[in-house]
């Protein structure tokens, strides 16, 4: 699953994104990969699912089932440390860790991924993809995006 990347953020593997919630090998030998969507309306989920299927096939696994469900609900705390570092390097501020209560204070105070300044301002909670918000850094005077805390 490390080989499969988020199609919209190609530096982030599905393991690091936290959407792979479990892999079971049944007695019959069938491999079941459990996945959970980041956003209910994320158009990349179907692509991710078929990418997972391709990687399983490429690795010689023929008997498999990719189960996309909401049994475990994804939240942005599930992005790994390695994933957070990859996001920052990609130029996207990683989502702040939270206690599952996302409020305006949390989303307003993003740390600039370019210069680490906290002197930033949220421009809009909606960006070019459902999972991104748009911010502006007053120190390096650059607009940047944040992977939204959810």
């Amino acid at each position: 699953m490390d080989e499969v990347k988020d199609p919209e953020i190609p530096v982030l593997s599905l393991n690091d994104l936290g959407v792979i919630t479990g892999i079971d090998i049944e007695k019959s030998g069938r491999v079941v990969v459990n996945m959970t969507p980041t956003f209910a309306g994320c158009p990349a989920m179907d692509v991710m699912k078929s990418d997972v299927e391709d990687v399983l096939k490429k690795n010689g696994i023929e008997n498999f089932f990719v189960n996309l469900s909401f049994e475990t609900q994804w939240n942005s705390n599930m992005i790994s440390e390695q994933g957070r570092a990859a996001l920052k390097k990609f130029g996207l501020a990683p989502p702040p860790k939270h206690n599952l209560i996302v409020d305006i204070d949390l989303i307003e105070h993003a740390k600039c991924p370019n210069c680490d300044s906290e002197n930033t301002e949220m421009k809009t909670p909606f960006g070019p993809a459902l999972c991104r918000s748009i911010h502006y850094c007053h120190d390096c005077q650059q607009a940047f995006e944040q992977f939204k805390p959810l």
């Binding site: 309306g41 469900s69 909401f70 049994e71 609900q73 996302v102 909670p125 909606f126």
Partner: protein, 251 residues
């Protein structure tokens, strides 16, 4: 659990999301600011995606597949409240509807997160976090424009007065209200409405706007049982135009 009651609940939620999602998408390319264009387009994507997830649960209960259900029904088969089908009007009306509807929606999903029906509670737990962004967006603008210039206040006030009977129509009781409550599936429209009144008042009280006297208004009911305004069918015709050219096409 009474399956008919469950289906009624799922259909009204899914249809509300789909129709308001479509209305939001009509702002794409026309928003008053680029950020607002993106905001309404993003909320459209969220809402249509959420409706799809609810149609998938309906599909598991024996209804047709989500595309067929979304694109092949006529207006009298839709269970959305009339509020969501009204035309966007000017930005002030869209903003007021966004605020009034999405506040109710966030409360509904928060309540449904405790539903005894597992597929609904799992999905509601997921969606409430997404919808939180919608209400944050609405609250910011209502607070700003509701206290800005005489024109912005007047426009929002007029839209608020016009929208309110329709907003009350969100809470049209289901014929299965008692079943849903006693089975623990949903706490019911009355409980939702009373929490909603509290929350919208909290925001409106921070502005120069006045809440209309809700007790003197007649709610615009009928949508839940397929009685719609003249605005829904043209919306459906446009939304399903491409799909209906060849319903069997593989996308």
């Amino acid at each position: 659990m009474n399956t008919e009651a469950l289906k009624e609940l799922l259909y009204k939620i899914a249809d509300d999301q789909l129709i308001l999602g479509h209305r939001n998408s009509e702002w794409t390319g026309f928003g008053p600011l680029l950020e607002e264009d993106i905001a309404f387009s993003s909320m459209a994507q969220d809402k249509v995606g959420q409706s799809w997830q609810f149609y998938k649960i309906l599909n598991e209960l024996g209804e047709s597949d989500p595309d067929t259900v979304a694109f092949m029904r006529n207006a009298d088969q839709f269970h959305n409240c009339q509020f969501v089908e009204l035309p966007n009007g000017e930005y002030d009306f869209s903003l007021i509807r966004h605020f009034l509807f999405d506040t109710a929606e966030l409360i509904r999903f928060t309540m449904l997160a405790d539903s005894t029906y597992e597929p609904i509670s799992q999905l509601a737990k997921k969606i409430r976090g997404e919808v939180k962004y919608h209400t944050m967006h609405a609250n910011i603008w209502i607070k700003q424009l509701g206290s800005a210039t005489p024109e912005s206040i007047q426009r929002l006030q007029d839209s608020l007065n016009q929208a309110m009977p329709y907003a009350l129509g969100i809470f049209e009781p289901s014929p299965f209200e008692d079943d849903l409550i006693s089975s623990g599936t949903f706490v019911g429209e009355k409980a939702l409405e009373s929490e909603w009144k509290k929350q919208i008042k909290e925001i409106i009280d921070q502005t120069e706007l006045d809440l209309p006297d809700m007790d003197s208004l007649t709610p615009a009911f009928g949508g839940r049982s397929g009685n719609h305004t003249e605005h829904l069918q043209p919306l459906l015709d446009e939304m399903s135009e491409v799909f209906r050219v060849d319903p069997t096409a593989d996308w």
